[in-house]
């Protein structure tokens, strides 16, 4: 294997670092006992989570009940549930335009729409790619790597690359004009902008999910298919009856991850479409970002209230999916 030197080096480096705290850790273990060592092992990670995720979430929740423009929580006057009241201040809940914070509701709706479509497209593309890559094809390693390549790019670069292609003066329009067509304003049309937002995010991430599914496919024993062939089961039926059920645990991981990432989508799409045209691709995270950062008077309170609502939404989504996991009996 060509990667042997790399892994050797890694191993040596890892071993060196790992041996350093050996003696003090043994001492700790003697004092508190082996059974409690798990807490020691988990502690650093939980401390980091606590300090940089849970504490900030707490501050965010506190922010959402305060007003004013001060940054430090101690300097912010409490306003009770006013921020939430602002978010929910709608004359007609079926029409975001009637709401005080119409961008919040539009953002929610757009994120929901984006997530639903993107999840299905992403899963289908990843599945198809994984199935093809699982075939006995030449240069399989190369092709797998090709699909993984965009995963390595930063969202800023992903957006830049595609903006360069999709802009009115871009490569794609040049091709269309070259073939005698009229240039299409891809990012100025609500439908097209949404299409490309989804396309680009699938482009950027499908490689990751493909690999997860590929891992699942490779774990399926071949003799199952041979048996099915003996029985004369047709290919499509084999796929539905055999492959998909056996792949279910991996599919579920993919589903959960794609859903969470979909709702969180921000920087790629923001850098690509700026949320436009109008507010056609403005996601909920963009609303939060704009409210807290990009407006002249930062409204941390309102942004925090919107974050809390988004957090609750994600929680409900994930719990539903976890419940599904339990029901299907997969781990």
């Amino acid at each position: 294997m060509t990667t042997a030197p790399a892994s050797n080096l890694l191993a040596r480096l890892g071993r060196f670092i790992a041996e350093l705290p050996g003696a003090p850790m043994a001492l700790v273990e003697r004092v508190i006992g082996t059974s409690r060592m798990a807490y020691v092992f988990i502690l650093p990670n939980i401390l980091f989570f606590g300090l940089f995720v849970f504490l900030p979430i707490g501050i965010d929740i506190y922010y959402s009940f305060t007003g004013g423009t001060a940054l430090f929580p101690s300097q912010r006057p409490g306003v009770g549930g006013l921020q939430y009241h602002y978010l929910a201040d709608c004359k007609n809940f079926y029409d975001p335009s009637s709401c005080r914070e119409d961008y919040f509701w539009r953002g929610m709706w757009t994120s929901l729409k984006f997530t639903l479509i993107q999840v299905s497209v992403m899963v289908l593309v990843s599945l198809a790619t994984a199935l093809v890559l699982n075939m006995k094809i030449r240069a399989r390693g190369f092709f797998r790597a090709v699909y993984f390549f965009p995963v390595l790019l930063s969202p800023v670069v992903v957006a830049l690359v595609w903006k360069w292609i999709l802009q009115p003066q871009g490569l794609l329009n040049a091709a269309i004009v070259g073939m005698g067509g009229q240039p299409i304003l891809f990012l100025a049309d609500a439908g097209w902008a949404m299409f490309w937002a989804i396309f680009v995010s699938v482009w950027a991430h499908t490689g990751f999910y493909t690999l997860i599914l590929l891992a699942g496919l490779q774990a399926i024993p071949r003799d199952i298919y041979e048996a099915a062939d003996m029985d004369g089961t047709r290919p499509l039926r084999q796929l539905v009856r055999l492959t998909l059920p056996l792949l279910w645990p991996n599919l579920l991981v993919v589903l959960v991850l794609v859903t969470i990432r979909g709702v969180q989508t921000f920087d790629e799409v923001f850098a690509l479409t700026g949320g436009g045209p109008g507010t056609a691709t403005m996601m909920i995270v963009q609303y939060i970002y704009t409210t807290a950062f990009a407006s002249q008077v930062p409204d941390y309170g309102l942004a925090a209230a919107a974050s809390v609502v988004l957090g609750l939404l994600l929680l409900v989504l994930t719990l539903t999916q976890l419940w599904l996991t339990r029901r299907r009996g997969a781990t």
């Binding site: 995720v53 093809v132 390595l152 800023v156 003066q169 997860i212 796929l239 970002y289």
Partner: protein, 350 residues
């Protein structure tokens, strides 16, 4: 959905190239084109001059105006392909243009001025890589400093991440203890929080700790990653328990089991996390932008984006610097691509 059909048919007739294989290869060829094409276009564009960049329709390759020294003129004159009134074509050098009338001369006979309408001429150009796009920014910016900061952040953050994530994963996979489910749920919960929405509170926390404006402010907040913990835990769950039990019988300490048995066995998963962590850290933009305000601590991504102004973006420099920042990622890709794909596939993630 031809591919699953292809998959199965292919299994039944090994060694025969059938219709399904052709389809699969077409699918893959389109994939290569779609995945690499945009990046190739970015790289080509980064070598274009500013006016070549703005052109529509765009030229595929970077082109530069061809010019020639003509007797009697101090500076070189640009060359044009000209369609003459009689329909013949000539290559002429333009002296000047007044309104829509272009004044040209034949470089061989520079005495006579030939006047043609400007839409009867097209610029004569040749392939020219504009290295200036790379040279200027690299010379005028503290590139070495930014590079060092980025490398420092990437390396240190990755080591911290590997250490604390693997420790947590070890506890969550090998041990049974009270509150394990609570910790698992806590880790899942962090997966759901996008950094954008807690940016301000994290800034407040970092500020209160006194980490602001140091590279540690970039390194520490993202060191504990839910993805890392999960990836490693899933992998460790598949390890043979007998090994660990045997080590416990031999009175090995927990740390020795973790360091000498579990970690070496988890190498493929650790390698995958390394790749991810390097990628995350190298590409990080918004958080360093907010937390670092002095150029001694700027990372490459911030320094190189300085070409995005308020009213204008200097695209030629921005594209060139984007390519520069891509080089390490491309190297990771070239040298570790086998490791990436086989590593993640082996990790299981199920």
């Amino acid at each position: 959905m031809m591919s699953p059909l292809a998959l199965l048919r292919q299994r039944r007739n090994p060694g025969r190239i059938g219709f399904s294989d052709v389809l699969a290869y077409i699918y893959l060829a389109v994939g290569v084109f779609l995945m690499f094409g945009p990046v190739v276009w970015l790289v080509l564009s980064s070598f274009k001059t500013r006016s070549n960049l703005d052109e529509f329709p765009p030229t595929f390759l970077p082109l530069a105006q061809q010019s020639v020294a003509v007797k009697g003129y101090d500076s070189k004159l640009p060359l044009y392909n000209v369609t003459m009134p009689d329909g013949s074509k000539r290559v002429l050098a333009q002296v000047r243009r007044i309104g829509v009338i272009s004044q040209l001369v034949d470089p061989a006979a520079p005495q006579t001025i030939i006047k043609v309408n400007m839409d009867k001429r097209t610029a004569l150009r040749h392939l020219g890589l504009d290295w200036h796009n790379y040279e200027h920014p690299l010379r005028h910016f503290n590139f070495g400093r930014y590079l060092w900061n980025s490398v420092f952040v990437t390396v240190v953050a990755t080591l911290v991440t590997l250490l604390i994530n693997s420790m947590a994963a070890y506890a969550l996979s090998i041990h049974e203890f009270r509150g394990k489910n609570f910790f698992l749920v806590a880790v899942i919960a962090t997966l759901m929080v996008p950094i954008t929405i807690i940016l301000v509170p994290v800034f407040v926390v970092v500020n209160e700790i006194g980490l602001d404006n140091s590279l540690w402010a970039v390194i520490l907040p993202g060191a504990a990653t839910p993805t890392g913990v999960f990836l490693l835990r899933q992998y460790m769950l598949t390890m043979p328990r007998e090994l660990i039990e045997a080590a416990r019988m031999d009175k090995a300490s927990e740390w020795q089991i973790y360091a000498r048995i579990v970690m070496p066995l988890a190498l493929p998963a650790l390698a995958v996390l390394t790749i991810f962590s390097v990628m995350w850290r190298w590409n990080e933009f918004l958080w360093p932008l907010v937390v670092l305000s002095k150029s001694e601590t700027y990372t490459l991504q911030i320094g190189l984006n300085a070409f995005q102004g308020d009213l204008q973006t200097q695209w030629n420099y921005l594209l060139a610097m984007t390519v520069v920042a891509l080089i390490p990622i491309a190297l990771v890709f070239v040298f570790l691509q086998r490791f990436i794909t086989s590593g993640i596939a082996n990790t299981g993630m199920k």
